[in-house]
Amino acid sequence: MDTFLQQLVNGLTAGSVYAVVALGYTMVYGIIQLINFAHGEVVMIGAMVAFTMINLLAPAGMPALAVLLIGTGCAIPVCMLVGYSMERFAYRPLRGAPRLAPLITAIGISIILQHLALLVWSRNVLAFPQIIESRTYMFGGTAITNVQIAIIAICFAMMAGLALLVYRTPLGTAMRATAQNPQVAGLMGIDTNRVIALTFVIGAALGAVAGVLFGTYYGVAQYTMGSILGLKAFSAAVLGGIGNIPGAMLGGLLLGVVEALGAGYIGDLTDLCQYGVFAGTLEACKDGGNFVLAGSNYQDVFSFLVLILVLVFRPQGLLGERVGDRA
């Protein structure tokens, strides 16, 4: 039970970050039916910019919170600019082109951003300096750190903020209208190009913060971090129903939990020595040894498996209405 609760807490922390990144995918998909492959790289750039600033400022003896805020404050505009430029120069000219074209462009942008980051920051891992004093709170046998609490809180606040923006403001109404029918939205006086650009920019800003949080949680940032994080977040978006904003949030949290529980239990479940048939026959099982088929090093496989299973059995996702073969 302790393992279960502990993995649940860890899963929720990672999952809330996935959820925020997944929002970036789902908003863009909802509005122009494009998988923005490069979104993961935007998140990575956010983390790298913030970490560079934090590493510059940390030795100056400023309070930790100020350093973090300045770092994130620098990352957000950079990511917004990146998000805007890719929409403006790579995707907008392809509006109305067949689906394959912007998708391939997105893959290209992703490679370009990743290797530009490699040029700027080299292959080295940027470490997060020890500026936050880590405190651990115990609830029964479950440990939760102040960093985890902060990450979960910030992510939920951002999700709530985005929900307010989309469902309670004129801009949100315009976004939903454009998603439903761009032509009619245009006829109603909505500048659809502007709305689409803003969607990219908002997604990128959320991604920047998510990148900082993710980097802070694991203590490192590297130019390759975007691709796997992006894939997981995309899986989360699909799990919840792509194009559906509450779906992305639910999908992210679920995926984080599934992944953490999977990593926590797969080693025990695939230990053949606990099954009678093998226990007697396998050499390794003697003297209380074990024979683990798959350990937690398969963690990254879970998100892909979830993704494939969802697409095969429920392509519209948990909360979605869209169907997979629309794509």
Binding site: R95, A97, P98, A101, H115, Q183, L231, A327
Partner: protein, 362 residues
Amino acid sequence: MMPRKNPWAVRAGVLLVAITLAVLPFALAQVGTAWVRITNYAVLYILLALGLNIVVGFAGLLDLGYIAFYAVGAYTYALLASPQFGLHLPFWIILPIGAAVAAFFGLVLGAPTLKLRGDYLAIVTLGFGEIVRIILNNLSRPVNITNGPQGIGGIDPFRVGEFSLASPQELLGLEVSGPIKYYYLLLAVLLVIIVVNLRLQNSRIGRAWEAIREDEVAARASGINTTNIKLLAFAMGATFGGVAGGMFSAIQSFISPESFVLVESVMVLSMVVLGGMGNIWGVILGALLLSFVPEILRWTVEPAQMALFGRMLIEPEVIRMLLFGLALVLVMLFRPAGLLPSAVRQRELTARGQGELPERAT
């Protein structure tokens, strides 16, 4: 089809190309054996690109995990002809096995994804490729099968009796090195595969793929068994990948999961897209360009940087990847059908709506 030309001119042209290809390795060997190796890898990439072209170009199914089949072929060869298990089967037995195993994996990937199209398919295939790589990376415990990240070494070269393709030989007074022998083998395989591709393209199956790519519902309505035809595309593409993988294993004599990362899939895709999806000659051109240009850059950019700045500012590897990314973006923006477009694809990719947003699935 091609317009009729003077048959003698065509024959002379073919003869000229044949002679060039035959003499090429000896000319390259004068510059350096490294260039013969580079040429061999370029031919391997052409094989891969032609295989992926069946899936992406002919059938219109975007596959981002194609390198997984290459990995399956390579690992099948490596496991059956290396000290890893002490097996040393001859290549003419292993290559068909490798092709069959890869085809099986093609079906494994194809079957659950039949319903999916476009971007969904892309992401599932991407996940599939990563799963294969992660598994290869971790199959060293509890039973050591793939030797994990260390990879498998000491893989047998292609060998018939005493004649090994890896060792140099004196032939008619000419020094024939290992890579040169492999070059001729690869060239022969390439010719076979080009012929197979050309025949496929205009066959009943080829036209069925094209029909599915254009409009799946209409294709089904016209009596095409879309399920089987799509699975066939996956299996066929995978088979080519598997054969190429086996040859890669033998030539390289060492493989590890690092050779089969996502970037490789993207690279092969870039070749297909740059050259022209669906056009065999275009795909070959794309593969040649993206194989050789980075190598040429490597040989020019490095010394140029050393001379100008006294140190390496930009690694050639980074330039290569930036080039791939740029190729994808620029081709899609300015020449969406590729450098040598296939006639049908060009019509399809340039027929854009008048400033309308994509509303319907293509």
